[in-house]
Amino acid sequence: MAAISETPLPGIGVRLEFTSRGGQPIGVVVRRDGDRDLLVYSREDPDACKLTLHLEPEDVAALIDALGGSAVVARQQESLRQSLEGIDLEWVQIPDGGAAAGHTIAESALRRSTGASIVSVIRGQEVITSPGSDFTIEAGDTVVLVGSPAALAQGRAALADA
């Protein structure tokens, strides 16, 4: 995947940008109010856009759907983010032979030792929401953590540890 660069636009939001494999720079302005602008840069004047398309959240969902992403997941993330202002989410993939692999959530004692809680586990195509404390984490799972930024950093370190 192309690297996405980020430029803050104070008072407006943030601009994300990458160059397509065909060499076309493409950008998105993520506005503070949730609207997006899709940007296609001009080849003659690389500083300007030849197309700026304003998209409201519904349009964004439709566009993601059309492009083949899962609009449902995106919307879930959106609503999760909004309901959890001030708390951050973190996705951690459990490596092969990771310390937590093969243990239940209770055994990992993650919340007690780091303060981060596991709210969801993604295993292949399946999403297990609010897994119980007897749920066994396996290598290859993606664990969704919630907590303060400091707790998340610790939680990530504990889980990603091989």
Binding site: P10, G11, I12, R15, D37, D47, A48, C49, T52, E85
Partner: protein
């Protein structure tokens, strides 16, 4: 309910006031529609409308209504201007924006200050005019960039960077201006100046270090409670600021800067309609306080100042964009985009005039802003 009748006895005069108020608002709405139709900022039209109404009708609005309306307008306007950028934005812009910011300050404050000196004004009035020519209209420019589809352009962060630094400079400039127009003896003023700068630093510190925590304390699930909380804090701090001799508007601005995070966005959305109402009233009342007859005398100096500071702003934008590695066309776009002056310049003049600055300042700044608020968006469209 016979008991209620005495209350209604004095209603005759108020009915006239209500009708007049309604008429003025409808007039403003009409001007706003007109501005939207031709893609201009409504600010110059409000001011022009106020000037003409004042000339035609000499409306006998009671002094205290003008005073209160103008005060609430200026307080809400400045609170929202402070809210626009978070503490992180302000600090972040320092990393890249110091040089363009300095160029901006030197190029654009100097012409105003120099003209003030030429006209033989006192220090406070000169400083006020310097501020009015220095500060671009972030409101007009942000809307312009959006309307012209330039948010993604590579010169845009440089343009916004200039606006953010100006905002930061205002945090120090406004308290100092407040102290200067108060016109106390130099020894006493020195103390107030230190206090003013200290308060600005404190507000910025709060914004950067405790913005989130402060926001969480102020936050509440109910819009109504949040609105009352935030408005209460703004008015309280504004009142205290006025009492200690730094104008109320300055206090509101610093509260706006100190609040950040999600609460700031929500509070901003809640207060925006109130701000729109009172800001429109502020622009009209400011214009009403100016005698149209005093405008012709200041037209020539205002025009000279407008041309000179349009050129210096163009240079500022050019430099800022070049600093950001943008090519020639982008530099031209950045320069032209920054020319518009607006709400902030009027607010500065309003503070100075309320503090008893020279009578020429109001008309001069009004004429100046009329010119550049109209010309700015037109010039910005000149280069694609």
């Amino acid at each position: 309910m016979p008991d209620a009748l005495p209350l209604l006895a004095g209603v005759g005069a108020e009915a006239g006031t209500l009708a007049a108020l309604g008429g003025v608002m409808l007039g403003l709405a009409l001007l706003g529609r007109l501005a939207g139709r031709v893609g201009l900022s409504p600010i110059p039209l409000y001011i022009g409308g106020g000037l003409v109404v004042g000339w035609l009708a000499d409306p006998s609005i009671p002094e205290d209504v003008i005073g209160t309306g103008e005060l609430v307008g200026i307080v809400l306007l400045l609170f929202m201007l402070g809210l626009e950028y978070t503490g992180q934005d302000l600090v972040g812009s320092l990393r890249t924006g110091v040089r363009p910011g300095l160029v901006d300050l030197v190029l654009n404050a100097t012409p105003g200050f120099a003209l003030g000196l030429l006209l033989g004004w006192d220090l406070a009035a000169c400083v006020a005019l310097a501020g009015a020519t220095y500060i671009s209209s972030s409101g007009i420019i942000a809307k312009l960039l959006d309307d012209l589809g330039r948010l993604g352009n590579r010169e845009t962060p440089a343009v916004i960077g200039v606006l953010v630094i100006e905002d930061l400079v205002m945090a120090f400039y406004l308290p100092v201006l407040g102290v200067l127009v108060a016109g106390s003896a130099l020894a006493a003023a020195a103390g107030s100046l230190v206090l003013a700068v200290g308060v600005a630093v404190l507000a910025l510190l709060v914004a950067v270090r405790f913005g989130r925590r402060l926001s969480r304390v102020a936050d509440h699930g109910s819009d109504e409670v949040l609105l009352l909380t935030v408005l209460g804090i703004v008015l309280l701090v504004a009142g205290i600021a006025e009492r200690v001799g730094v104008s109320a508007a300055v206090g509101a601005f610093l509260v706006g800067i100190a609040l950040s995070g999600p609460v700031a966005h929500r509070a901003g959305a809640l207060i925006a309609p109130l701000r729109d109402l009172f800001a429109a009233a502020f622009f009209v009342l400011f214009a009403l306080s100016i005698d149209l007859g005093s405008i012709p005398a200041v037209l020539i100096p205002a025009a000279i100042l407008a041309v000179a500071t349009a050129a210096t702003k163009y240079g500022t934008g050019w430099y800022a964009a070049r600093h950001a590695g943008v090519a020639r066309r982008g530099r031209m776009r950045a320069g032209l985009a920054l020319i518009a002056r607006g709400e902030f310049s009027i607010v500065i003049a309003g503070i100075a005039v309320a503090g008893g600055a020279t009578g020429e300042l109001g008309p001069l700044v009004a004429a100046y802003v009329l010119m550049l608020a109209l010309a700015g968006p037109i010039l910005a469209r000149a280069v694609r």
